[in-house]
């Protein structure tokens, strides 16, 4: 018996990076997964990787939070009761202030904040979850420490952490826990893409992240802890997974 045998867990942003590693781990641990991807490529990757495993696959566009309710209700059997929801969707943004027009800011905030709140709202409907549901969203050290060009991204991650604090105070009565995981630099596709766009191969963040570049497995280990009963006393918090960066 795996640790998460017959537990229903929703992972949004499951086709890449942290979300994908978490999906592989939970699959090995016996969980029944609902895996989300935004793109056709992501859906294909999930379908191939988890063929015949019985997991559900869910396509929805997180940059359009208004579309999520319809997508969720039409694709996922509404009798399923969730035990976990991990939100790994996150759009990166690096732009100087003079190019930070409202349309760009809105796009980042829609994908990173409004869609997370909307999915939480849908998941937390009556009869949609089992008591003990654990919700975790991936945040970033950017929410705590400013850097040039990350204004919109940092704002979006700080917003999710604040939303988590409020949700936890509202949902504890329903036996739902909500936390955010504040990640440092992690070796994902998004990180490689980011490094390719930079002029220098050096990453100044790693000078302060003294445990070095994180792996998606490092982060997954903490997510598994936060999903499980062992963490039943932790809610409303922003937990650092940052290789020492914020210390």
């Amino acid at each position: 018996m795996g640790k998460f045998e017959n537990k229903y867990i929703l992972i949004t942003g499951a086709s890449k990076g942290i979300g994908f590693t978490l999906a592989e781990n939970l699959d090995n641990l016996g969980a029944k997964l609902i895996l989300h991807a935004s793109s056709e490529d992501g859906i294909n990757k999930l379908t191939e990787s988890f063929a015949n495993k019985g997991h559900l696959i869910f396509k929805a566009d997180f940059s359009d939070p208004l579309s999520l309710e319809e997508a969720w209700q039409s694709q996922i059997n509404q009798d399923i009761k969730l035990d976990g929801f991990v939100n790994c969707v996150g759009i990166r943004s690096r732009r100087p202030l003079n190019l930070l027009k409202p349309a760009h800011v809105m796009n980042i905030l829609h994908a990173n904040v409004a869609s997370f709140i909307e999915m939480s709202r849908l998941v937390c409907r009556k009869n949609g979850f089992n008591p003990g549901l654990s919700i975790i969203t991936i945040s970033s050290i950017a929410a705590h420490s400013g850097g040039p060009g990350v204004t919109a991204y940092a704002a979006s991650k700080a917003a999710t952490e604040a939303a988590v604090r409020c949700m936890s105070k509202e949902l504890f009565k329903k036996e739902v826990r909500v936390n955010s995981l504040v990640c440092g630099q992690v070796n994902t596709e998004a990180y490689s893409d980011l490094m390719e766009t930079k002029a220098s191969a050096d990453d100044v963040i790693l000078e302060r992240q003294y445990l070095g570049l994180g792996s998606t497995q490092n982060i997954t280990n903490i997510l598994l802890f936060l999903l499980g009963k062992e963490s039943c006393f932790i809610t409303g918090s922003s937990i650092p997974a940052d290789g020492g960066y914020l210390s």
């Binding site: 909307e118 850097g147 940092a154 700080a158 917003a159 409020c166």
Partner: protein, 241 residues
């Protein structure tokens, strides 16, 4: 010269009054097109007033062209506009979240983007945004509001890092319960709905509007020239209680 962006709130008016008393030139941009009596009485030629609905962020760029004549530079601006609202998660729809983000974040960022241009902003100037302790303290039914204020506080840090090379400082004030705000219906709803004890947690009592305005004036002034990228707490000892 300072630019105050306000949504009919007493805090904004109070900041204008204090800056005028300090002999500064002040431009007030307000969503409400009526001035309070206290400001009408002041009749200063250092004061100008404009009104438009800047929550429609696409209007800001063209309106600012009319307000700030070429060659005129400002020493700072204050964003004291924004909206509140309480709703449980089940009613926290995307539309509600977007309205909150629009008034509390997008409009501020658009003003910051346009006003911080080299042709408009003096070296050594200061930007101040009014935030809230909700940014760091969770309360049920304030999901969208808290998210928008935390976003604002984080945006400050990014901007401060970027604008430091021009010695421009950017800060926010995390305010607790302020006299001026207690007038608003949503605050009354909030007290009734979820936070009866919350007001009492502010050990020093309600913060006077003038006290908030004084802190704003300090952060605008050269006295605070080494304070940047921070979220200053003005909470009457709320967060420790």
């Amino acid at each position: 010269m300072y630019c105050i962006i306000n949504d009919g709130g007493d805090t904004g008016y109070c900041i204008v009054e204090q800056l005028l008393q300090l002999n500064h030139e002040v431009i007030l941009i307000d969503r409400k097109d009526q001035l309070p009596d206290s400001l009408i009485k002041m009749k200063s030629n250092r004061f100008s007033f404009y009104s438009f609905d800047f929550y429609q962020t696409h209007l800001i760029e063209s309106e600012l062209k009319n307000i700030l004549l070429p060659g005129k530079k400002i020493n700072g601006f204050v964003y004291s506009a924004g909206i509140g609202g309480v709703r449980p998660l089940a009613l926290t729809t995307t539309t509600f979240v977007s309205e909150m983000m629009n008034a509390n974040l997008y409009a501020f960022l658009e003003f910051a983007r346009l006003l911080s241009k080299k042709t408009r902003f003096e070296i050594g100037g200061s930007i101040v945004a009014i935030s809230s302790v909700s940014s760091i303290k969770g309360l049920k039914s304030k999901i969208a509001y808290s998210a928008s204020k935390a976003a604002l506080d984080a945006a400050i840090r990014g901007m401060a890092a970027e604008l430091a090379e021009r010695k421009i400082r950017v800060n926010s004030i995390r305010k607790g319960w302020v006299e001026a705000d207690l007038k608003h219906d949503f605050i009354q709803d909030n007290i009734a709905l979820s936070a009866q004890d919350d007001h009492a947690r502010q050990l020093l009592g309600t913060i006077g509007t003038a006290d908030l305005a004084k802190l704003v004036c300090f952060l605008l002034s050269d006295e605070s020239r080494f304070i940047s990228g921070t979220n200053v707490l003005l909470d009457g000892a709320y967060t420790i209680s």
